[in-house]
Amino acid sequence: MNASAGEPPALLAQSLRKSFRRAEQAAPVAALDGVSLRAHHGELTALVGPDGAGKTTLMRLAAGLLRADGGTLQVLGIDVAGEPQQVQDRISYMPQRFGLYEDLSVAENLDLYADLHGVGADERAERYPALMAMTALAPFRTRLAGQLSGGMKQKLGLACTLVRSPQLLLLDEPTVGVDPLSRRELWDIVRRLVAEQGLTVLLSTAYLDEAERCGRVILLHQGQVLFEGAPQQVADRAMGRSFTAVPAPGQPARMLQARLLDQPDIIDAVPDGARVRFVRAAAAPAGDDSLRNLDAAAVPPRFEDGFMLLLRSHAEGGRSASISVSRPIAHTREAVVSVQQLVRRFGAFVAVDRITFDVRRGEIFGLLGPNGAGKTTTFRMLCGLLAPSDGALFVAGADVRSAPASARARLGYVAQKFSLYGPLSVQENLEFFASAYGLRGDGKRERIAWALRQFELGAQARTTSAQLPAGFQQRLAMAAALLHEPEILFLDEPTSGADPLARRAFWRRITALAEQGVTVIVTTHFMQEAEYCDRVAIMDAGQVLAQGSPAEVRELARTDATPEPSMEDAFIAVVEQARARSRAAGSVPGEQHTQAAPR
């Protein structure tokens, strides 16, 4: 599919440089530091890399929204700096937060973008049905954009971006915050556009499995290109270094993972289904027996293994991110969170519909579900931010809403989006929340010092929180929620939008906390992350569809065709079965709960 010799590539950057100046920093920060790369016509090219690698900056430069400090950037053979309008007439760009008008309906949003791009009536008549069919939004034409789920919003954004046919489509993290089902749908749309219409697409993503499916990947790190080429080449770098190991019976995979990560020659270890996948720094020499006491087997490498290998040779961090609490809580295994037949209605809409589950002390409990499944509503009820319409819930032995305010000191809560005070510095935020939880004097100073140390925020203590990169903000939010050493920690999509390194560091801390007796309840869109949990519950349309250990839930999707289903397979199977049932029943999802046998 590569371009013929005479034709210029769809995107060609040479020694591209762009720096940004932050208010309190003397030296400008280089977002792109001499980047040379290309994307070919008719191909799907993925930009991957940790937060702050320069992915969005490159996108914005290509869309002619920023001006480079140096180097050249040609898009479709046109110099962007010289003729931004020429480029903008030929491309479509969907930024991370696409500008949908929440008070307009789906159809009105589409019309608005068609008007903005001067798309005529004939062209609309031809394109609209195709866009509607592609995004399956036809039944929701009159619904307000603000009332769509996250996944549907992204699909509408994509449809608005495609109201005219561009020669190059730029998508900046189109699947962030989108659940696996919607992610799969979005991804199908993009791949069809490339395969059937020969569209050229450049997209950035934090999901490495997505990058693996692209024709070409560009790995950015701190403003530099670490790799450019076919995804398989990245995977090949880990050839002979990828293994999987089976954890001891009855032990969560994360224990084995933690042990593996402590070995100096192991670069990366992540739970992978029932096993733990790990990558060694170098291929094992002949006669090596360091893995003998492990039930380990060599496996063919995948993109993620090579990616971690590449990154680890350039960046440290995330590995040693363990954590220790000052007073471990005894693992007594009693239920510290108990939810019985919990219901929450908003008017006629039932957001949470008779859910029941228990979480035991020191457990990591995962709530999985598509956007709008009722996870956040459940969380808000557990934290006392919202009153249940019906049912009972006990957190640390008390109903949070009727218990005295001091009972809230036993909980920690990290919201989905950064909710500390942006204008305040890291130190000031920590001081405020320490005081809010009644810490003072030496105790307060000690805890703040502990938080700065454990979350590696010491160097940023005086930085204004709003100016921190997302990964640091996430760490700060965690630090603030742990200052008072809560027994129970609620984390609402803590890893959404975080890069692979940050996610690993995050889970390292969480598993360490759980080991020391802290109960963790977490929602996530990353199905691989469900493997870190002791137990998970899959929610959709306000109901718990399945719950049990990751192994038990995976078991639900086992068929002859997929003898070893992943958590993502299980999730999609469970949700789709339930939706099919409720369609068959013709109304609200019914009584049937697919309940895995409790251990």
């Binding site: 931010l385 305010a405 919201a415 909710s419 005070y421 305040l424 005081s435 809010a436």
Partner: protein, 372 residues
């Protein structure tokens, strides 16, 4: 109890930090009230200066010249033209070249000397009734003085009745003396109400309110923590305007600072109560802003700041009873100009206390029930 106080202090400290850390928001809290006080001091005045007037002097006598020199020397009127024909009057008024035209009949001096009394015609541009009325009043008093002086000089009997008027508390009846003390209440109301209203709405919008609610903070502690810094800022602003009044405009302060700030404290409590009420109702900063804008106009129109309450229809006068600004303006004026003590201010103080109690209690009730 101590724990609650420490939490309130921590929240107040955080609020002040958030406002004062940023240089721009720091300036926006102090500069505008001072600048507004200065602008109002100069601009919002009913005192007339440089009033353009024209004369149609058909007499050209010593008496008419003496009368006109009285007008020209008053410092208020500025003669822009000497008209020749009656027809010119209309043209001058229509074109707004003169606010007043004084016509002196050709028999003016003769009539005066004959003792019959002379007539003058004064034509004013009534399109701005307020200014025209004031200007005509000035002319009347100048003519009255001329008439008395002329009579005395020419041996006529003095007029039967002579009114000698003296204005207490503001001997020269300068609008500024009346306006600026009133501005103390007006300016602090705007800022205090907005600051409080926006601070909660901002937290709601940015999701930090949830984070606050999962900490051991109780609803009333959050309200107190929000109210205290706003009141402190309000008090500092009031002090700023007070300084401008005394040291820039040299308006003498007759009362006690303690009395003034006790009154202001009650007023600020009521203002903060309204701000909290707004923020309890508003879901976003935009709504909070809109609501406060909606309130500011009626609050200032119905406060007696620029128009006397007593001349409003009685139904509207009842409405002003729930306007905290009305009492604040009364308190600041009375303490500032007449030196009133707490006892005299009681009719203003107790309604403020009642308003503060009502708004704070309602806001706290809504806060607790909105979480359902």
């Amino acid at each position: 109890m101590l724990a609650a106080w420490l939490r309130i202090l921590a929240l107040s400290r955080k609020e002040l930090l958030a406002v004062l850390k940023d240089r721009r928001s720091r300036l926006s809290l102090l500069v505008p009230p001072i600048v507004q006080a200065l602008i109002f001091g100069y601009a919002a005045t009913y005192d007339l200066n440089h009033v353009p007037y024209a004369v149609l002097d058909q007499d050209h006598s010593a008496a008419s010249r003496q009368l006109l020199s009285g007008l020209d020397g008053s410092g208020v009127f500025e003669r822009v033209a000497d008209l020749q024909r009656l027809g010119d009057i209309r043209a001058f008024i229509d074109a707004r070249r003169a606010l007043l035209v004084l016509q002196i009949d050709q028999n003016f001096e003769r009539d005066l000397l004959s003792g019959r009394g002379a007539a003058l015609q004064l034509i004013a541009d009534g399109r701005n009734s307020n200014t025209a009325g004031t200007a005509m009043g000035y002319v009347t008093s100048i003519v009255g003085r001329f008439s008395a002086d002329w009579g005395a000089a020419h041996g006529f009997a003095p007029p039967a009745v002579q009114l000698i008027s003296r204005a207490w508390f503001n001997p020269n009846l300068e609008t500024r003396w009346f306006m600026i003390p009133g501005m103390i209440g007006m300016l602090t109301l705007i800022q205090t109400m907005m600051l409080t209203g926006m601070s909660v709405a901002r937290e709601r919008e940015q999701g930090t309110f949830d984070q606050l609610l999962v900490t051991p903070f109780r609803a009333y502690e959050i309200m107190a923590g929000k109210a205290l810094p706003s009141m402190l800022v309000g008090a500092i602003q009031a002090a700023g305007v007070l300084l401008v009044a005394q040291f820039w405009f040299h308006i003498p302060f007759a009362g006690s600072y303690l009395t003034l700030f006790i009154g202001l404290l009650l007023f600020l409590l009521a203002a903060v109560g309204i701000g909290l009420l707004l923020s309890a109702v508003a879901a976003t900063m935009q709504q909070a802003m809109l609501y406060s804008m909606l309130l500011i106009t009626p609050f200032s129109l119905l406060s007696g700041l620029s128009t006397p309450l007593s001349s409003m229809p009685s139904a509207v006068q009842y409405l002003t009873a729930i306007n905290p600004l009305r009492y604040a303006i009364d308190i600041t004026r009375r303490v500032y100009l007449e030196g009133a003590g707490l006892g005299l201010l009681l009719p203003d103080l107790w309604p403020l206390a009642l308003l503060a109690a009502l708004t704070l209690a309602t806001a706290s009730w809504i806060f607790r029930h909105r979480m359902q």
